[in-house]
């Protein structure tokens, strides 16, 4: 597409092209019309909310279907064509179920926790560049913001486990706290590698910096290793198998959300899936070039053909691929034990992450990129 070409060319030639996010437009529109500003804000809110509910349902359906086919089953087939409305039916069921609060629970915190758990992934949705010009806000400290907000995600789980006044919930919450805080480190170290490579913390800036090749292979081994570390660490952050010890069904019945039912349980469920989408989208953005099309060296014809696919589709395809891998892990691997989990983080991933960061720094300093930056 000509559009992508223009932008990529602009980025490559260091001209001052700035992508138009919704936040930028809102700010720009203030002198002209406050109604327009309000409209942009409304668009952002409605857009994120719509995306949220659609993503939640779509991902749950996809996960069910994928899991079923991994297991020689068919998955949902009854509600709607191909069972497409199954998630909707389940959501309705959850909405109408009693919202049960255990008698000795800390009532206010118990009710607050699911919203806190959902808050983090929703905030992060605003930062993701879905396509050129389709982004709610592009912060110049994007990566820092992601790390900071991402660390806050454990609060919802901790509060849920603590306030339920249930031993299983408590164990689950404590496990989650230890696990998420540990794996945040590795995830951040992996993110730092990309920051080093691209020299920016803005997510759009990182996408644009991958014009000459995605960081997963352009950053020598360091990029690939950082990708793997981030994939593992973010799967652990998501509490998904093989790192689902906070829920650990066969051990803790349902872990931190044992005492939740109805809509509040649905919120935890939704939070997990939105989180998965956010993490996959970030992985795609940071390591797989975001909405950038796939280019190979100077195969002009091939590259032009790739450019005809809209950037939004590219972004979705990459995100879906990462989501699939995470689901694939879940439906193949058994669960780790708590101490093995900690061992993996502190004795394997973290040292590897530091070494990797060092290698990346050397690569950046010596400018030994396999594909030289387009000058």
């Amino acid at each position: 597409m000509q559009f992508v070409h223009t932008m990529a060319a602009a980025a490559a030639t260091n001209t001052t092209w700035t992508p138009q996010t919704l936040a930028d437009r809102a700010v720009d529109s203030v002198p002209h019309s406050l109604w327009l500003t309000a409209g942009y804000f409304l668009l952002a809110v409605v857009g994120v909310a719509a995306l949220l509910s659609f993503l939640g349902m779509a991902l749950i359906y996809i996960e069910r279907k994928i899991a079923a086919h991994f297991q020689c089953r068919l998955g949902p087939t009854r509600v709607g064509p191909f069972g497409l409305l199954q998630t909707l039916a389940d959501t309705l069921k959850l909405v109408f179920k009693e919202d049960f609060v255990p008698p000795k629970a800390d009532r206010s915190l118990h009710m607050l926790a699911p919203f806190l758990a959902l808050l983090v992934p929703v905030v992060l949705l605003a930062l993701i560049p879905y396509s050129p010009n389709v982004q709610v806000a592009d912060l110049n400290i994007g990566i820092l913001f992601i790390t900071a907000i991402g660390g806050f995600g454990v609060m919802g789980i901790l509060i849920a486990g603590w306030s339920s006044n249930n031993k299983w919930s408590m164990i689950g919450a404590m496990r989650a706290g230890a696990q998420i805080i540990s794996y945040e480190l590795s995830a951040t170290l992996a993110l730092l590698v990309v920051v080093l490579f691209s020299g920016t913390m803005s997510l759009t800036g990182i996408v644009l910096s991958q014009q000459e090749g995605w960081w997963i292979w352009r950053g020598h081994a360091a990029g690939f290793v950082a990708f793997l570390i981030y994939l593992v660490a973010s799967t652990a952050d998501l509490n998904r198998t093989p790192f689902d010890i906070p829920e650990g069904e066969s051990e803790l019945t349902a872990g931190f959300h044992t005492e939740y039912s109805g809509l509040r349980f649905a919120f935890f469920f939704l939070a997990e899936f939105i989180n998965m989408f956010t993490v996959s989208a970030l992985t795609a953005t940071l390591f797989l070039g975001g909405w950038m099309p796939f280019h190979v060296g100077d195969w002009t014809g091939f590259n032009a053909a790739m450019d005809t696919i809209p950037p939004g589709i590219w972004f979705l395809a990459k995100t879906t691929a990462v989501i699939f891998v995470i689901m694939w892990f879940r439906w193949t691997f058994p669960r780790l034990r708590v101490d093995q989990l900690m061992h993996l983080e502190w004795k394997v991933l973290l040292p590897l992450g530091f070494a990797n960061l060092f290698v990346a720094a050397v690569v950046v300093l010596t400018e030994l990129y396999p594909f030289p930056l387009g000058k």
């Binding site: 297991q71 198998t241 066969s250 051990e251 439906w331 058994p334 669960r335 034990r337």
Partner: protein, 387 residues
Amino acid sequence: MTVHVRTLDELLHAPLEADSDLTTQEYLVNMGPQHPIAHGSLRVVVRLDGETVKEVIPVPGYVHRGVEKMCEHLNYRQVIPYTDRLDYLSAIMNNWAVAKTVETAAGIETNDRIEVIRTIMAELQRLQSHALWWGVTGMDLGAYTAFLYGFREREIIGEIFEETIGARLTMNYIQPGGLMYDIKPDFAAKVKKLLPYLKDCVEQYETLLSGNVIFQERLRNVGIVDGARAVALGCTGPVVRASGVPLDLRATEPYGAYGKVQFNVVVGTVGDCWDRYYVRLEEMRESIRIIEQLIDGIPDGPYSTIRYNVELTLPEGIHYGQVETARGAFGVLIVSDGKREIPYRLHFRSPNFNNLWVVTAMAPGWRIADFISIQSSLDLVIPDIDR
């Protein structure tokens, strides 16, 4: 002299201590009767210090049906369908235990055909049981896909049972003096077609779980019990064999057609969860081997040597018979008064009841997650514990 009798309440309300320098208090959790690890309704009270298991108190009885009392009013043929409902994954082998005891006590002869068919059926059931166990272990350790693969194989073997016997779970197939039905003419062909598939399945099990580093880490060196201790704790079956004791009644006291076939008793070396896991996987291969040796030459003969309605009265005294089920030695102890055709007292020596006790020795010191591995590696069937 008075004998002090305790109660569970007394035990559970004993003061809990803080065991470490940190002032964290120990606490009790109920693993079951409603808990994913309970696989039925077994209640296990676990005293924990943080994540570490301090003490395990099994509290069975949630499916106690008083089968032994019921059997005091049933004749020997009527006892057999009740044995289906003890260890329902070894129904045919349980039937065999009663049939064998009655046959020995009453002096009923069987023929080669009956014994060979019994052996094949028992081994098919062992395969079925181990396949399901493999899946359940996968599920306990978080690999849910394994569960459905295990169930798939179980159902495929179940189809063979359904064709021959008419039931998939509670078969009531082996009767004193013979079988309930003769096999169908295409039985051998169908089983022979099934065996390569099962071999392939065992290979898949190896790929999916055995070769997985997470799975190995979860099982290896967890819940070690050495051979002498396992025997003293009354373990039988794969649990004691994993500790290196080749106690397998099929080999030490051959019954049925086991004396005629070549097979290995699979034993482990360390006695940890991994050995208990792999012993069962190897046993599946041995079972396939046994069936392969028997399936081609099923002798001719009647499928029952006595009529169904013949009155079965055992001579006065104690009669004991036992078979090796998928979980260990299943014994039937019949005390007969020699007059009536119902037992005076009938006691089932159930392998699961005895294997459960070892968990109290294995689990302390390990974490909650290891407790799951340990209990899963024992392959407990709760109705057999409670009877």
